[in-house]
């Protein structure tokens, strides 16, 4: 593999194309100028420092964290039920049920957002972080199921039978054998759904009330050119956090797959 293939060059260029635009955010977040434009004017960390005193931003961050934690917990629990049911059992209507649960992956987000909005308002609910959480759970569950399915699928069924054979009941088997082996996958699911919720904008935008989430806050700041570098700093931190969380999630996912005995050559889906 030492020779340089044209396809290899293409691959590197492609990867660069994916990453470089995103790298502009951190670049300008250190730029010593309030105007987001070239040429760069020197390095400063003042924009990051400003974030410390930005109460509105911190409020939005706190809101986002609350929503993300709640959303990831519920989505993962629903994902465990769904993934286990879909990989282990046969039942009528399975294909249709699976399709509905996984539908948010393909639908335009705006459809999900407005449908939920209309129904919630018609039912008399007021918009709040709770409604945002409901929306985020709906969108995260398919990802949770995707991650956990590979965990469950690679899982050797005879391990559970062995546990039964040695005298443990179904509940004890779940806690002593199934859960520990699937645990890394569960952790991975929690991290991914957390990150999805943290970064999600559209559904939050439509379903939030007076309390903004972080992406909504960022959106609102995009109009004020003076505050732009602050937003860039914030965005860069967000990118870094997402990157770290996802890296850990991936390591966990691989560990889960290895534990259950399968290979690690595939990705998420």
């Amino acid at each position: 593999m030492a020779k340089i293939r044209p396809l290899g060059i293409y691959a590197f260029l492609y990867l660069a194309f994916l990453y470089v635009p995103v790298l502009f955010l951190p670049i300008f977040s250190f730029n010593d100028s309030a105007i987001v434009a070239f040429p760069l004017k020197g390095i400063t960390t003042q924009w990051y420092a400003n974030l410390w005193s930005d109460d509105a931003m911190q409020g939005a961050l706190w809101n986002s964290l609350k929503v993300a934690v709640a959303s990831s917990l519920v989505a993962t629990v629903l994902g465990i039920c769904g993934a286990r049911a879909l990989t282990r059992y046969r039942f009528p209507g399975k294909a249709g049920i699976a399709a509905l649960i996984m539908l948010p992956l393909v639908l335009p987000e705006i459809i999900i957002a407005i449908s939920l909005l209309v129904v919630l308002l018609q039912l008399g609910f007021s918009l709040s972080l709770f409604s945002v959480t409901l929306g985020h759970i709906l969108m995260s569950v398919p990802f949770s199921i995707a991650v956990l399915s590979s965990s469950f699928e690679g899982f050797d069924r005879s391990l559970e039978e062995a546990s039964l054979d040695l005298g443990e009941g179904p509940a004890a088997t779940f806690f002593r054998v199934t859960l520990p082996i699937v645990a890394p996958g569960i952790l991975s699911s929690l991290l991914i759904t957390f990150t999805i919720s943290l970064d999600e904008f559209i559904v939050a935008f439509f379903l939030s009330g007076t309390e903004p989430t972080l992406p909504i806050y960022i959106w609102s700041q995009l109009r004020f050119t003076a505050k732009l570098p602050n937003v860039l700093a914030l965005g860069s931190l967000l990118l870094l956090a997402s990157f770290l969380l996802l890296s850990v999630a991936e390591v966990m996912r691989r560990r889960a797959v290895r534990r259950a005995g399968a290979g690690t050559s595939g990705g998420f889906l």
Binding site: S158, A162, L164, D165, E168, V177
Partner: protein, 362 residues
């Protein structure tokens, strides 16, 4: 092994939709016996084993272990333990933790538990690897862990689902001997499922040969080998020559036949068998005949033939001999003893045989 019946399988049938996996299977297994279920894939042997383990229940019929009805009793409450085909070693636990797994419910005190685990590991020669995990030990070692894990539970019956199929030949032969010794040392009833007839012959006290969900023959290895009841059993176990024969007369214990290519003989019948009709198939094992050449004749009868092919197997050579009036060659095996010359294709020989070489098949 004593005469007490520990397992009764009573007309067990298992259907999956229109497919019958087990068809009115009945057999009784004695305490302390090393009992094998032998047959090709799909014959129902694993299905039957799983019925005993409790992972499945029969569509009809009864199963009793030590007198207690078992159908409907879940696997975790049966007095059986199983060694799975792929060993099912828990990947997140060490060897020691695996072996100790089933002891948790017994709530033994720490010392007693440790003692038992040590004893179990020593018995399978794995005491020095207790801290390893399943991906750090070899296949053969994993099998021993599976054995220790099951035996530590002191079950009444140990079920083994093709335990040696994943091992290479040398290791398999070694494990066959070890398993046999282990079973005698522990004294528990072993029920082994295998498709390898050599394995079954080597290790078992009795074998049940199964085809298509039914038991074709259930007997001691020697009897199955030397007196297979049917062509199917004869074909499955060991090599066999099949010869057409005409029935000349039949009495209580013997049947007089005229075997194509060979001649007349009076052959003993298996007890209670009747061969009505004009013809039957006669089986003849390659080692129950001999080749007479370069030496004085000394056999009951001989038939002239020509060597077609010789297959060398180290300790034996299998010769395919063409005999006039037979359309297929007859296989005769000869041990390669000192001084015995190997024959080449085309050489003329005499095939020595006697009525004891012949087995009447249903």
């Amino acid at each position: 092994m004593n005469d007490r019946i520990i397992i009764e399988i009573d007309r067990v049938t298992r259907k999956f939709g229109s497919f019958t996996a087990l068809d009115e299977v009945s057999v009784q297994i004695r305490e302390g016996e090393f009992f094998s279920l032998l047959g090709p894939s799909g014959c129902g042997k694993t299905t039957l084993l799983r019925q005993l383990a409790g992972f499945d229940d029969p569509t009809s019929g009864a199963i009793r272990i030590d007198g207690q009805a078992m159908v409907g009793v879940p696997a975790n409450r049966r007095p059986t333990n199983m060694v799975f085909q792929n060993y099912a070693i828990f990947p997140h636990l060490t060897v020691e933790q695996n072996v100790a797994y089933g002891l948790r419910r017994l709530r033994l005190d720490g010392q007693e538990r440790e003692r038992r685990v040590k004893e179990a590991l020593v018995r399978v020669d794995m005491a020095h690897l207790g801290a390893r995990r399943s991906n750090e030990i070899s296949g053969g070692q994993r099998q021993r862990v599976a054995l220790a894990r099951a035996l530590i539970m002191r079950p009444k019956v140990l079920l083994l689902d093709e335990p040696l199929s994943a091992l290479d030949k040398k290791l398999r032969e070694q494990m066959q001997v070890e398993l046999r010794h282990l079973q005698r040392a522990v004294g528990i009833t072993f029920i082994l499922v295998t498709h390898d007839q050599e394995e079954a012959l080597t290790m078992s006290d009795r074998i049940a040969v199964m085809f298509g969900g039914r038991i074709a023959q259930c007997d001691r290895p020697e009897n199955i080998y030397q007196q297979p009841r049917s062509r199917a059993v004869a074909e499955f176990i060991g090599g066999m020559n099949f010869l057409d024969a005409a029935i000349l007369s039949e009495s209580e214990d013997v049947i007089e036949v005229d075997v194509a290519g060979f001649g007349r003989a009076e052959v003993r019948k298996p007890a209670g068998a009747y061969f009505n009709g004009s013809g039957l198939t006669i089986g003849a094992r390659p080692e129950r005949m001999t080749l007479v050449y370069d030496e004085e004749a000394g056999h009951n009868r001989v038939v002239a033939g020509t060597v077609v092919e010789a297959s060398y197997y180290g300790d034996m050579t299998y010769y395919a001999i063409a005999i006039e009036s037979l359309d297929r060659p007859v296989v005769v095996s000869m041990r390669n003893t000192i001084g015995r010359r190997s024959l080449a294709a085309g050489e003329k020989v005499q095939v020595g045989w006697s009525p004891e070489s012949l087995v009447p098949l249903v």
